[in-house]
């Protein structure tokens, strides 16, 4: 048997990565283009980053997006976690199967339909569309993702821990905050981050739920692109990519470090008498 990757492995991995990253790479490269024309290279420049910062409409949209994402992700995390706890903990109650099925529905529902139904509801209730309706809409659809992430952690959670806490005199509510929550916290944080990113890059649902004065960054980019792509948009997108990449790297490095430290400690404990 030959060691190392075969030519087939090399080709398939190269093709795969080119397929995934070439468009992103092009975008990053052209964000440093001197020329106004997106497709013609005219030398290196960082001027579009300066332009981007001076573009008030773009900055406003970015600020709205971040606020929407922070708010909706936080509310969705609370609601999603509560939902997950109820579905995994409270045993059998009438309609449990229906509820646990329904929590997955928005995951597979087309965004257009979700957005349209939210719009209809906001109109029916008489809610003025704007910043808060976008927050509400994003909370609604990201909540399910949080619930699914937290639920998968809770299923593996050792219920003895909660019983032990109660046995030692801790009432149920306090047990949740002292024992359950700290242990499932990584899943809750992961759920929050998922909700945050989903809200950050959502275009369809936000377009339905929004009103005057509440334009999110994806909406802004989309409307500008329709008038013609400017290198400014490339610059904004590059900044977004950098932020997301840094976030992912930090998250994976910390979890990896924790895992390594834990394994080392366990090996040492096993070796001790």
């Amino acid at each position: 048997m030959r060691k190392g990757p075969s030519w087939f492995n090399v080709v398939s991995i190269t093709l795969g990565f080119v397929f995934l990253y070439l468009p992103i790479l092009l975008l990053v490269v052209y964000s440093f283009n001197e020329s106004r024309l997106v497709t013609v290279w005219a030398g290196f420049s960082t001027k579009w980053y300066g332009e981007m910062l001076r573009n008030q409409a773009l900055m406003d949209a970015a600020w709205v997006t971040v606020r929407v994402a922070l708010l909706s992700a936080s509310v969705a995390t609370v609601l999603g976690t509560l939902g997950a706890v109820t579905l995994t903990r409270f045993g059998r109650f009438p309609g449990r199967t229906m509820f646990s099925g329904m929590i997955y529905a928005p995951l597979v529902m087309p965004d257009v339909i979700l957005g349209l139904s939210l719009l209809l509801m906001f109109v029916a209730v008489g809610l003025d569309r704007g910043f808060w309706t976008v927050v509400l809409a994003h909370t609604t659809f990201t909540m399910c993702y949080v619930a699914v992430v937290v639920q998968s952690r809770l299923v593996a959670f050792d219920r003895d821990l909660e019983e032990a806490a109660m046995d030692l005199g801790c009432p149920p509510m306090k047990t949740f905050f002292l024992i359950t929550l700290p242990i499932i916290l990584p899943a809750v944080v992961a759920g929050w981050m998922l909700a945050f990113t989903l809200s950050l890059d959502d275009l369809v649902i936000a377009s339905f739920a929004t009103g005057p004065g509440a334009t999110t960054l994806p909406m802004k980019i989309y409307s500008q692109v329709r008038l013609g792509v400017t290198p400014e948009i490339n610059a904004v997108s590059t900044v977004l990519i950098v932020i997301v990449t840094i976030g992912v790297i930090i998250a994976s490095v910390t979890t990896k470090r924790q895992e390594v430290a834990r394994q080392k400690a366990e090996r040492m404990a096993a070796a001790a008498p």
């Binding site: 821990l161 019983e163 030692l168 366990e266």
Partner: protein
């Protein structure tokens, strides 16, 4: 530890024989159903202060459910549970003066050993200085002083087990419940820990209730053992009574090894019973009065270590004897088990201690041998 001095006191410890004694825990006609499944079936039992009480039975016999009802994790469907004379059937676990040590240990992974032990004390609102003192005392008790700052995953299995024990003892509960506490330890460590547990229980003067499926563990630690089967209490007695005077074939079979011979009562009276098995051509005298009527089907039960094997028939004619052939020998090091086939085809097991280092045994395969036992070695069981 203090066990040697407490020994004589221990021997006289039998509050269950004293009609004046008040039980600490009383199960009154307790039934627990999960849907159609009856986990505990109309069960009543008294457990006394300072007693080490073992619930023993195969998995699914209801012993864990009984323990969980005592801890408050389950409520009885019918009946009452009294603790110190007060009905606690519906008191939630966090308001009961009862603590439990879990089979999985259930140590809080995000807290240090210290914080784990202090957890219950904090819930009671104990002053900080008192908590620190109690935690230190507990760490000393389980000999883990130098591990106070460690997290549970930095400890070995035996150390975790001791942290779990310390945590459940820290609040000085009225009753300590132990759910298969030694199940995860290897055999040597388990045996050592069994003795530590009994020492600890006597030192602290506390009431322990242990659930186990390991009969040796129950016999080692407990003052009394309750053998359970299908949610019912089959027999409650001291370890030696359970072993020597099992109430039924189920108990006799569950605890240790036993030979069971089917037959009939031929005669009984004056504290003696004559047993006859036509199939094996065996007549045996048993020094035991039996309520079983003459002619009724019954079983002669005899433990392998009480049967002697020899080439010659016993000289003493008052001893029961039967002839057979050595079918198989199981060498276990300390003892050898002889499987002797009788004329009727039934195999009887007899153990012999290997008292010399000779590899060549005087009795070997296919030898014609005599099995014998004295009338006080066997007993007669009805069902």
């Amino acid at each position: 530890m203090g066990q040697k001095t407490l020994g004589p006191v221990r021997r006289s410890f039998a509050p269950w024989l004293d009609p004046q004694a008040k039980p600490l825990i009383r199960f009154e006609n307790v039934t627990k159903r999960f849907g159609d499944f009856v986990a505990v079936d109309d069960l009543s039992i008294d457990i006394y202060e300072r007693e080490f009480f073992a619930l023993l039975g195969p998995s699914g016999c209801g012993k864990t459910t009984l323990l969980r009802m005592l801890a408050g994790f389950e409520t009885p469907t019918e009946g009452r549970i009294l603790l110190d004379g007060k009905d606690v059937s519906r008191v939630p676990p966090y308001r009961r003066p009862v603590n439990m040590m879990f089979q999985s240990y259930a140590l809080f992974p995000h807290m240090s050993v210290e914080a784990n032990i202090a957890f219950g004390l904090k819930q009671d609102g104990m002053p900080k200085a008192d908590i620190a003192a109690r935690v230190e005392e507990m760490l000393k008790l389980v000999k883990l002083e130098q591990f106070a700052k460690r997290r549970p995953h930095q400890l070995s299995g035996g150390q975790r087990q001791r942290v779990a024990l310390a945590r459940s003892l820290a609040k000085r509960p009225r009753v300590l419940l132990l759910d298969e506490p030694l199940g995860a330890l290897d055999k040597k460590l388990r045996e050592a820990t069994q003795f530590e547990l009994t020492d600890l229980q006597q030192e602290l003067g506390m009431t322990f209730v242990i659930v186990t499926h390991d009969q040796e563990e129950a016999m080692t630690v407990a003052d009394r053992i309750a053998v359970m089967d299908h949610g019912k209490m089959v027999q409650v007695a001291t370890p030696s009574e359970i072993y020597e005077q099992p109430a039924s074939r189920y108990v006799a079979d569950f605890i240790g090894d036993i030979n069971m011979i089917e037959g009939r009562i031929e005669a009984s009276g004056e504290g003696r019973t004559r047993f006859r098995s036509e199939a094996l051509g065996l007549t045996a005298d048993v020094l035991d009065a039996t309520p079983i009527g003459v002619g009724e089907t019954s079983w002669l039960a005899i433990r392998p270590e009480k049967v002697s094997v020899s080439h010659e028939p016993p000289a003493d004619t008052s001893v029961n004897a039967v002839e057979g052939e050595v079918w198989d020998i199981g060498y276990l090091g300390d003892v050898s088990i002889y499987h002797v086939r009788l004329a009727g085809g039934k195999t009887i097991k007899a153990t012999r201690a290997n008292v010399t280092r000779l590899i060549e045994r005087p009795i070997t395969w296919d030898d014609k041998v005599w099995l014998s036992w004295s009338p006080d070695a066997a007993l007669v069981l009805a069902a």
